[in-house]
Symmetry: none
Subunit: 307 residues, 5 copies
Amino acid sequence: MNDRIREILSWYASENPGVRTNLARMLNHGRLGGTGKMVILPVDQGFEHGPARSFAPNPAGYDPRYHFQLAIEAGCNAYAAPLGFLEAGVSDYSGDIPLILKCNDHDLLNDERDPISAVTAGVGDALRLGCVAVGFTIYPGSALRTEMYQQLRELAEEAKAVGLAVVVWSYPRGSSLSKEGETAVDVVAYAAQIAAQLGANIIKVKLPSEHVELVEAQKVYQKYEIPIATLADRVRHVVQSAFDGRRIVIFSGGTYAADETFFEEVRAIRDGGGFGSIIGRNSFQRKKPEALKFLDTVMRIYEGSNG
Amino acid sequence: MNDRIREILSWYASENPGVRTNLARMLNHGRLGGTGKMVILPVDQGFEHGPARSFAPNPAGYDPRYHFQLAIEAGCNAYAAPLGFLEAGVSDYSGDIPLILKCNDHDLLNDERDPISAVTAGVGDALRLGCVAVGFTIYPGSALRTEMYQQLRELAEEAKAVGLAVVVWSYPRGSSLSKEGETAVDVVAYAAQIAAQLGANIIKVKLPSEHVELVEAQKVYQKYEIPIATLADRVRHVVQSAFDGRRIVIFSGGTYAADETFFEEVRAIRDGGGFGSIIGRNSFQRKKPEALKFLDTVMRIYEGSNG
Amino acid sequence: MNDRIREILSWYASENPGVRTNLARMLNHGRLGGTGKMVILPVDQGFEHGPARSFAPNPAGYDPRYHFQLAIEAGCNAYAAPLGFLEAGVSDYSGDIPLILKCNDHDLLNDERDPISAVTAGVGDALRLGCVAVGFTIYPGSALRTEMYQQLRELAEEAKAVGLAVVVWSYPRGSSLSKEGETAVDVVAYAAQIAAQLGANIIKVKLPSEHVELVEAQKVYQKYEIPIATLADRVRHVVQSAFDGRRIVIFSGGTYAADETFFEEVRAIRDGGGFGSIIGRNSFQRKKPEALKFLDTVMRIYEGSNG
Amino acid sequence: MNDRIREILSWYASENPGVRTNLARMLNHGRLGGTGKMVILPVDQGFEHGPARSFAPNPAGYDPRYHFQLAIEAGCNAYAAPLGFLEAGVSDYSGDIPLILKCNDHDLLNDERDPISAVTAGVGDALRLGCVAVGFTIYPGSALRTEMYQQLRELAEEAKAVGLAVVVWSYPRGSSLSKEGETAVDVVAYAAQIAAQLGANIIKVKLPSEHVELVEAQKVYQKYEIPIATLADRVRHVVQSAFDGRRIVIFSGGTYAADETFFEEVRAIRDGGGFGSIIGRNSFQRKKPEALKFLDTVMRIYEGSNG
Amino acid sequence: MNDRIREILSWYASENPGVRTNLARMLNHGRLGGTGKMVILPVDQGFEHGPARSFAPNPAGYDPRYHFQLAIEAGCNAYAAPLGFLEAGVSDYSGDIPLILKCNDHDLLNDERDPISAVTAGVGDALRLGCVAVGFTIYPGSALRTEMYQQLRELAEEAKAVGLAVVVWSYPRGSSLSKEGETAVDVVAYAAQIAAQLGANIIKVKLPSEHVELVEAQKVYQKYEIPIATLADRVRHVVQSAFDGRRIVIFSGGTYAADETFFEEVRAIRDGGGFGSIIGRNSFQRKKPEALKFLDTVMRIYEGSNG
């Protein structure tokens, strides 16, 4: 392991060697292995948004094996998916890429104001499938967040005890937040902090906007002139909010954008000290050759090139 | 152990030696060690109020290690924080300061009238992290208090069986109380009593105001002319309300105040027979040299000087 | 054991010898030991009503040890209190008086129409503290009674299995009852029956008034001319309603009264075949010499004197 | 994963994906990764033979970190050691090489005729240390073999359920075997079969001699003219005896030999269809540069060169 | 924590922070706190040798509290004793000295050739008594060693999971060893290695003699000219045999010796890189003032003086 990876692992000194081994497996795998940067392919949209919305743009993606292949060929650090998708493909790709088992999922057939995901898999599944980590989504801002935090707490305790790393999707949502507030910089930073305090090893948040949602926070951002004008500034603030950069924070691009806009965001993540990207629809919803080209550019940016 | 510590521990004779050992570890640690007084540094505000509101005033505090260092250098009796903050720093400071694991936490992304904190850590975490105690917040007055009392009861039973002390933050809040009522002297005294009856070893309450909230209580305070005119009077009443002074009760100062006002309050805590202070934002939100100077004054007051 | 105690224990023949031993410990302890009558000191008012309302009239009562001393000096059969009060005093009085651990409690900082107490202690606590029984309050009439009955059922099953007796405070309250109805004779009798059916070994109810609350009950009381004109009549009816006198039923006096009124009530309990009194505020809210004199009179009445 | 690895994994289709992932991790790691051949470094001799006998020839080996470094630099597929050695080094090399936790060990301070190893570690240890497999030694021929088989059965069941592969050292020993019989070809083949039948994923045996130990076996070897004249013949027979080559069988060289003799044996293993070598003393008992050169030759032979 | 303590703790990086905290508590306590050296007072001789043989020379030692006082006044790093002795004294000295609960014990009323100690306490006891570590004796060389190793393995797994350190007394004994062999340098080194491989955090062995017991070992000691002529040489070899000095190894002096002989041995432990002494009979079998003087000299030697 090189010095950068050693440094990152040192932040997790209170975890057992199993957790650190699995973090190292992700950090050292794929094209960005050893750089301290990560690109993860997540494919939970079949559950979260429905199959046609997810896979019709590139029907190859209906097949669970497609996403393993895509992640492997692109040189991603890891592939994350719900139970069924992993079960349906893992035997063909055993050991070829680190796997993250998404352990809760939410569907849109009943889209509540205050959502909570169903717990759909657990530590036993992750072990029998050979995963390196469990993934869990929390919705800070939801009236049901208390229950989610507690579910995460129990999952994380069980997972870490057996050496699995814990990846948390921290997505503010719920009746107490405006739509704009879900990606407000103060809210995203707060969501990163909550995930870190709950014991997350890797934290995934959305890219923050310049909006500040909470009145009390607004005063602080102004008084202390916290720089949030550029995306890189905001990424830096979010990373700082996750234990001063001592937790791995990666970002999702969210909705479709022109590729160049997307690459611009990746450069901002890199320049703001973010640890990488988790890229789902923007990769698997195009034909594989295009997807590989797209991800190649992303990784080149993280390697330090301009893309 | 000196006579004062022996006396304090005698109040906990029904606890097992493990609990008493961990109480002694806190009472004997740091600059106030052996005096029977305590100053504890709690840093849960990242979770409770958000990262920028908590750490922007002194950005060093984004780093979890900072608070360990601050507590150690200031000579605090203990440091209290949520799971993530302890996990991220404990390996660098093993055994250097008694640790209290905050086992439930609440965030402001959804700020209900009747709050309940999420259970975010447990006894297993406290043991593997080498803590001396678990901490738990209850909100007497909340419509959900029954659930919180029961969570505390289960946590306390489990914790004490393995020798961990139990620290309870008893903060009246909820739809049945006026804002002013949250710190009313009768309500704070009642909150201290409830925590003591629930088996708390150390009770943390807010400094009480002269206001009396409950009608039935008002009659009693008047009839029996309970002295509540000065802060020292009210501290004395709260301490009396926690088993006639046979439970350790410490006080928080709450929001910012001019330092001298704060010191005045500390003198009142001391003169009223309080056992010490739990000081978060007033310490970690200023630069370390100033914080050390500030805490030095606080400790001098508890040592009997005028500050 | 004398014949009367043997007779009382014969009603509990299906309980294991441990439960019967602990019932015998209470029945044979103190000044009324062996008479089949009981006077129990309960002190849960600090939790239930708040510290000042409970202890300001006689500030010695802020100290948990005071109540042990009072119960012992007065020759009570048992002392009942919540977890914290027992923990804080038991080590000074180990074995000096039978102890009942109140396992649920309710506070007034949020006073609902349909109350439920929080479970605040359990069988493990009772065993480690050396108690003879667990105590539990149910509120028949509350919309949440089902949950309370189930909690009691679980507690009683666990307690009896390890030989602890079960004492039930059965206090009708809730949105479905008028204020007057809470002590209506039909309601109190019904509450005693419910407690007995739930497996209570000792049942504590309030003294019943002449009021009949339930329409359907009213018809029956009239049709069968059930005697309820005098307090002794009503006590007799309540005792009959608890398995025809084959369960120990004791009564509380409730709010303050002139002492002679109180003694009159005690005579009615005795004459109506009640098994004794549970006397809290009327005893610990006066100075100890007065309290001892007061309790001496009560016990003399139960011994058959006129007081 | 390439076709050869896919083929090997197909033999383990009844194992869960976790076990296959961990087999793949070993098969794909290091210099022989992807060839289907393996060289594993085992260092349990400190326990099995004592420290001086093991490490005095190359004192660097007293340090547990040395063996991690050696295995990594040599490009071994995996490193196997007892609990203490793994615990003492794993944090410095997390994820750098697949680890096998030796779960039982035997020492020579009491050298019985019918040995049994002590169970010294378990599945929980393997998981928290981030291992890919558990290792277990059985002594077919020992009067205590039944107990060992049953211990293995329990360990294997538990290990496979959580995705850990099972490596079995199958070493005939005991009062019923002559010293020569311990490596007799019939006995070694029998030992390989027993391990396979017990569910071993990887089987380690000693190189078989031409001797045939068991009388009944002798008749069969003669009658069917089983070729055992050359070492390659005997390796082929042993591999055949482990499910016709559908289980990974690797061989140990045992005591010191001239290097060329050793290499000759490796060529025989390769030519007989063996899957590789497990090389302890022959590697770690020489200075690292020499050890690396030695292992380089071994691996070159497995890669198909003549060494 | 200073650099030396930080270095020592770094050897235990695979343990959880709780174990490291408890190691730090011992390393930082008492007069040698922070030096990396330890003097531990063990008093299990009442069980192991009988009361009169143990305490008649200084009858104050019949009282369990005496040994707490002695360890505290002398400034020892820790006090180790069986269950009963700790239970009988701990409440008077809560938190005053780190405690090690001896979890198995052996008596001489039946003195077998192949001894095994009875398991007399466990992790639950250690936690409720507030201990920092469990202690366990193994007898390598005993025909029953396998059972002891397995008992230790289970105890250690359970203890470490809850943050307790593991101290192993590794005392070769049994029918396969000559009396002289019990302290032979090869045997003691082997015993240290076995304890380390079993996961011991602190290893206690007897001072080794120049004798070499095992024939195979004899050849190695001669061939590699391992220096064992002086006691310091032998201490150095034993420390090396416990993971090249990366495990804390402390030594016992065994039988009575003239004080100066004893001090000479302590100097050899120090000069050979040993981590300290565990001194029972030589301290508690003399009057306290003499014992304190004796231990003062020992500690001065470890501090670097000549005694």
